[in-house]
């Protein structure tokens, strides 16, 4: 078989492609690019961060506990920082395919986009989870017991429970977020990594 000849004669097209090519404008075609999905998720995340921040702000009007105020201030500050970081990532993520990039560059662009987003989530989580857990515990304890915070926390048992709550909730939240990330993007990231590794094989061989 003459491979080159058979290959070059094989591209006659099909009905599906011909039909699509009849259009004069392709901008209405549906895109399934993963980075587009990532950018949409960043926007959704920012929207929720704004909503949650507003809830935190509204709590100032209903609660009169300086310990919770501190937790809320830290959380609001942190939310703002994460929103700025998310916005920067959103602006810097080019969801379109870049034909001037080599295949490896394009795959790395996608892989790094997701990795950066995940790092951002981890950074946010590790800081927010303990403060949110402690703040929630104090607020719930004070409201539930009807005692002032100093009295409520005076009991060493409560301090122990607070520490245990934080120690239990932080890893649950951390690993829960990791599981959700892997569930949503794990397959895609694994595939990207596999392809990048396949294309990097030569460099690895040289360095061995």
């Amino acid at each position: 078989m003459d491979l080159e000849n058979t290959w070059q004669q094989s591209g006659a097209g099909d009905d599906m492609l011909n039909k699509l090519l009849q259009q004069k404008d392709f901008s209405n075609l549906h895109s399934k690019l993963p980075l587009k999905k990532l950018k949409r998720n960043l926007l959704i995340g920012m929207f929720w961060a704004i909503l949650i921040t507003l809830v935190y702000i509204s709590l100032f009007f209903f609660i009169n506990l300086w310990q919770v105020y501190i937790a809320l201030c830290v959380l609001i500050f942190f939310n703002a920082w994460i929103m700025i970081d998310s916005w920067k990532l959103y602006k810097n993520t080019n969801e379109n395919i870049t034909p001037s990039n080599s295949l490896k560059q394009e795959l790395q662009k996608n892989y790094n986009g997701f990795q950066n987003w995940w790092k951002l989530q981890q950074k946010a989580g590790l800081f927010v989870y303990p403060i949110a857990a402690a703040g929630g515990f104090i607020l719930g304890g004070v409201k539930g017991s009807g005692k002032p915070v100093e009295v409520f926390l005076y009991n060493p048992k409560m301090i122990m429970i607070l520490v245990i709550t934080v120690l239990v909730l932080v890893p649950i939240c951390y690993y829960g977020a990791r599981w959700m990330f892997n569930y949503a993007y794990g397959k895609h990231l694994k595939k990207l990594k596999m392809l990048i590794d396949e294309l990097s094989l030569d460099n690895e061989n040289k360095s061995e």
Partner: protein
């Protein structure tokens, strides 16, 4: 490049889109998704085409980058599993030789498929290495290995 010129160039080089999509799509739905994505991306980025390379080269790069970015599953099909292949890929080819060739190439690793298609379309190892972002040496090694595999497969049927 004007919109009219772009559409005419795209039609002229549609064989690139057709061939590459048929090497990677697992089924009709995949094929449709890939066609749509490639055309949409071409539409969005054709203004970046400055004519310092051939339109066919630009389109080839765009197709490969799009296909590899959008694929989620490894879609290697075992050559021996004809039933699975037929189920997954029901397109009728122009002739038996074309079908045998596509079937054989689709058994290769995804990056090797790209290398083989570029080679069969006349690109040399240096150009292939630029397409993929690998060294010319690795392109050569992979091509050699893929060609050996293809020869064995095509001999056995």
């Amino acid at each position: 490049m004007s919109e009219k010129e772009f559409l005419s160039q795209l039609k002229e080089h549609q064989n690139i889109i057709y061939k590459l999509v048929h090497l990677y799509a697992n089924n009709e739905e995949d094929k449709k998704d890939l066609y749509q994505e490639i055309l949409l991306q071409a539409w969005k980025t054709y203004s970046s085409f400055r004519g310092d390379a051939k339109f066919s080269t630009w389109l080839y790069r765009l197709c490969l980058n799009t296909i590899f970015t959008i694929q989620k599953k490894t879609n290697k099909i075992e050559y021996s599993d004809t039933t699975k292949y037929e189920e997954a890929y029901s397109t009728s080819y122009t002739n038996d030789e074309t079908e045998r060739l596509y079937k054989a190439i689709r058994t290769l690793l995804e990056t090797e498929r790209a290398i083989v298609s570029l080679h069969l379309d006349g690109y040399d190892n240096k150009e292939i290495s630029r397409f993929l972002g690998i060294t010319a040496n690795l392109a050569g090694v992979k091509l050699h290995r893929a060609k050996q595999q293809l020869a064995t497969l095509l001999k056995n049927i």
